[in-house]
Amino acid sequence: MQSKVLFRVVVPFLIMMVTACSLQPVQPWERDILAQKKMQLDPYPIDAALDEHTYFSKEASRGGAGVGGGGCGCN
């Protein structure tokens, strides 16, 4: 019972703690790269805005389009 919990819960948890989901975090002095236009989530903001307009006009409700390809997809 103990070793089942150990291998299925504790060991993966420890591995996740150590790797932190991203092997190399962004350093403070590298943040300018994230601010570049090509690093934005949405590559075509005008097209996205026009599509958004079409959708909320047809659906009579708005929202849910904000997250480009990331996020949890819960909306």
């Binding site: 019972m1 103990q2 919990v5 504790v10 948890f13 420890l14 703690m17 350093q27 403070p28 002095w29 590298e30 943040r31 300018d32 790269i33 601010a35």
Partner: protein, 164 residues
């Protein structure tokens, strides 16, 4: 279900995620970094005997537009008393740094570290960050960011160190 000692171990492990030790340099632990300047390579330990003001900056750092004129004034005022300002640039593209320097010239030593090795060794948390090092090579102060209202206090600090 789980025995008490195992539960205790699990609790401790889950609390481990809150263990974050802020980077603090004890007096002697200051990293001896080597950076490249226009005059060649420079090692921090070579500057012992002078009061060193190490400033990590980048071309995109907005407060640096205010900090550079202040550092110019500081270098001019205290250079005879042994103050050396070393501004280490962390831009990946040194051309951007040169553009910044064209708009905000520096009369102090400017070093380039595009790989960010010296910043990693100093565990830089914010941009800009400056470190005040005394004549014996010990870290006296760390300043995260640059605010004009703090300049008077920083200048007093440096004045005290150069007079020793």
């Amino acid at each position: 279900m789980l025995n008490p000692s195992f539960r205790f171990t699990l609790t401790l492990l889950s609390l481990a995620c809150f263990a974050w030790i802020p980077p603090v340099f004890a007096g002697d632990d200051l990293p001896d970094v080597t950076v490249t300047t226009a005059q060649g390579s420079l090692r921090l330990s070579e500057l012992r005997g002078q009061v060193v003001y190490v400033d990590f900056w980048a071309s995109w750092c907005v407060p640096c537009r205010k900090s550079f004129p202040w550092m110019n004034q500081l270098q001019q005022q205290y250079s005879k008393q042994g103050l050396k300002i070393v501004a280490i640039n962390l831009d990946k593209d040194p051309q951007l740094a040169k553009q910044f320097l064209a708009d905000f010239p520096a009369n102090f030593t400017v070093a380039y570290d595009p790989e960010g090795l010296s910043a990693t060794q100093f565990k830089v948390q914010a941009m800009p960050t400056s470190y005040v090092i005394d004549r014996q090579g010990k870290l006296q102060a760390t300043h995260l960011g640059f605010r004009e209202k703090d300049t008077a206090a920083m200048e007093a600090e440096i004045k005290a160190l150069v007079s020793k």
